[in-house]
C-alpha cells in the first residue's frame, strides 16, 4: 500500500522532466482552444485518484470481512 503511494510519487517525478522540453505543436493546439483540456486533465486526475482510493478501501473492507468470517 505504502509502496503504491511511493510509486505514484516516483511516477510523477520521473515522467515530468523528459516531457517538459518538447512539443510546440501540443502547446499551440492547447492555446487555440483556450487550454480547456487542461481543466479536463485536472478533473480526470482528481477522479482517477479518488477511484484508486475507493478500490483500496474496498479491498481493505473485503479483507476485514473475510477475517471476521474466519474468526467466527
Amino acid at each position: 500500500m505504502r509502496i503504491r503511494i511511493l510509486s505514484i510519487f516516483c511516477l510523477l517525478f520521473g515522467t515530468t522532466i523528459p516531457l517538459s522540453a518538447q512539443d510546440g505543436g501540443l502547446v499551440d493546439f492547447m492555446d487555440s482552444i483556450g487550454k480547456i483540456y487542461v481543466v479536463v486533465g485536472v478533473i480526470l486526475v482528481i477522479f482517477i485518484g479518488l477511484v484508486i482510493y475507493l478500490i483500496r478501501l474496498d479491498r481493505k473492507i473485503a479483507r476485514l470481512e473475510n477475517q471476521i468470517m474466519d474468526n467466527d
Binding site: F9, L12, F13, T16, S20, I43, Q67
Partner: protein, 351 residues
C-alpha cells in the same frame, strides 16, 4: 436517514454545482493573439487581432482601439476593419518618438465595443524608436483620452492571458488544497485528543484524516503539475512552491512509515500522534510561508496575495467557496469510511 447523512448530500450537491457552473459559465471576451508583436516608431502599422469569445460587430465605427504605453500616454487607431466576429484589423500611425528616453516601450492593446466590453492585452506590441525626443513624443501620444469603456454584460469568469480557460482549475486544484488543510487540522485535533485521553479511537480518526489529507495533497500536486505544463511550460519547474509542497508531503508519508515500524497499537498511536503534530507544524511554513518569502511562479509569491481581484472576482467566489466546502465534506466522508474501518478492525481483530 436524512438527519444522519445530510452533510454527505450537501457535499455532493455543492460539488455538482461547482462542476456545472464552474465549467459552463463562459470567459469574458479577450484578446487571444496579435501580430506583429513589434514595430518601429514613425511608421504606419496594421495590427491583426484574434479575439477569444468576442463578437466584433460588422460596423467598424462601433469599435474603438488604443495602444497604451503608460498610464497617461495612448494612441487611438486610425481605422478599424472587422474580418469576422473573432478577428479585426487595426491601423495605427506610430509617431516618430515615444514619450520616454527608452529605446523600446511595450504597448498594451485596448479594444472597446458595446457588446463584448473592454478587452486588454498587456505588452501586445513592442515599439522601437530611433529618434529620442520625449517632448514631441509626449504631445503625439497625448492626443487621445481613453474613456467611456463598456463593461461585459452577463455572468462571466475573467479572461487572463496565460490562464485562459484554465482559470476554472481554481475550483478543482486550489479548493482541493484548502480542503486538504482542513483535513490536516482535523487530524491534528484528534492527535491531541488522543495524547490527552490515550483513547485509540481518536488515533483512528487522526490516521484517517491524515490519509485523506495526503491523498488530496498528492492530487493537488499532480493537478498542479498538469496545470503548470501549459502555463509555466513544464510539469515540474523546480519552483519553490512545488519543491516545498513535495517535501511537506514526503514528511506526511513518513508518518505512515513510522507507524508501521511498530507492532504495538498503543505505541503506534502515541508516536503517530506526536509525529502528526510535528508534521503539521512543518506543513504551514513549508507550504504557506516559505514560498511567499521568495520568488515563485505560483501566485502568492514575493509577499503578494495569492488572489488578486483580477484572478478571483466575485463571480468566481460564487463557485470557489462552495467548491471548498464541497471538497472538504467529500474528504470528511472518505476519512469517515476509513476511520470506521479502522475502528471495526480493532474491535474484531484485537482480542
Amino acid at each position: 436517514m436524512i438527519k444522519k447523512h445530510w452533510w454527505k448530500a450537501l457535499g455532493v450537491v455543492l460539488l455538482i454545482y461547482a462542476f456545472t457552473v464552474g465549467l459552463l459559465v463562459p470567459l469574458k471576451p479577450g484578446i487571444q493573439q496579435v501580430s506583429p508583436r513589434s514595430a518601429d516608431a514613425g511608421t504606419p502599422i496594421t495590427v491583426l487581432v484574434n479575439g477569444y469569445n468576442t463578437s466584433y460587430p460588422a460596423d467598424p465605427t462601433a469599435i474603438r482601439a488604443w495602444l497604451k504605453v503608460d498610464s497617461i500616454h495612448a494612441l487611438a487607431a486610425n481605422s478599424i476593419r472587422q474580418t469576422s466576429r473573432r478577428a479585426i484589423e487595426l491601423d495605427f500611425v506610430l509617431p516618430a518618438s515615444l514619450p520616454s528616453r527608452a529605446d523600446v516601450m511595450p504597448a498594451s492593446l485596448i479594444i472597446d465595443e458595446a457588446q463584448s466590453g473592454v478587452q486588454v492585452l498587456p505588452d501586445a506590441v513592442f515599439i522601437r524608436q530611433q529618434v529620442l525626443d520625449p517632448a514631441a513624443g509626449n504631445i503625439a501620444w497625448s492626443q487621445t483620452v481613453i474613456q467611456d469603456l463598456h463593461k461585459t454584460s452577463g455572468m462571466n469568469f475573467p479572461f487572463r492571458n496565460i490562464l485562459k480557460e484554465t482559470i476554472r482549475n481554481t475550483y478543482f486544484h486550489v479548493s482541493l488544497w484548502f480542503a486538504m488543510l482542513f483535513l490536516f487540522i482535523a487530524s491534528v485535533y484528534y492527535s491531541i485528543k488522543h495524547l490527552r485521553t490515550r483513547e485509540l479511537i481518536y488515533d483512528h480518526w487522526a490516521e484517517s484524516f491524515t490519509r485523506i489529507g495526503v491523498l488530496f495533497g498528492i492530487l493537488g500536486l499532480t493537478t498542479g503539475a498538469v496545470w503548470a505544463r501549459f502555463t509555466w511550460g513544464a510539469f515540474w519547474s523546480w519552483d519553490i512552491k512545488q519543491n516545498m509542497t513535495a517535501i511537506a508531503l514526503l514528511i506526511y508519508l513518513a508518518y505512515f512509515v513510522l507507524r508501521n515500524s511498530f507492532e504495538d497499537a498503543e505505541r503506534q498511536a502515541r508516536l503517530g500522534a506526536s509525529y502528526n503534530i510535528f508534521a503539521f507544524s512543518l506543513l504551514i511554513p513549508l507550504i504557506y510561508i516559505i514560498p511567499r518569502l521568495s520568488d515563485s511562479l505560483h501566485p502568492g509569491s514575493g509577499g503578494n496575495p495569492a488572489f488578486g481581484s483580477e484572478d478571483l472576482d466575485n463571480t468566481m467566489r460564487m463557485v470557489f467557496y462552495p467548491a471548498i466546502i464541497g471538497w472538504t465534506l467529500l474528504g470528511y466522508w472518505l476519512a469517515n469510511l476509513s476511520a470506521r474501518l479502522l475502528i471495526l478492525r480493532e474491535k474484531y481483530l484485537s482480542e
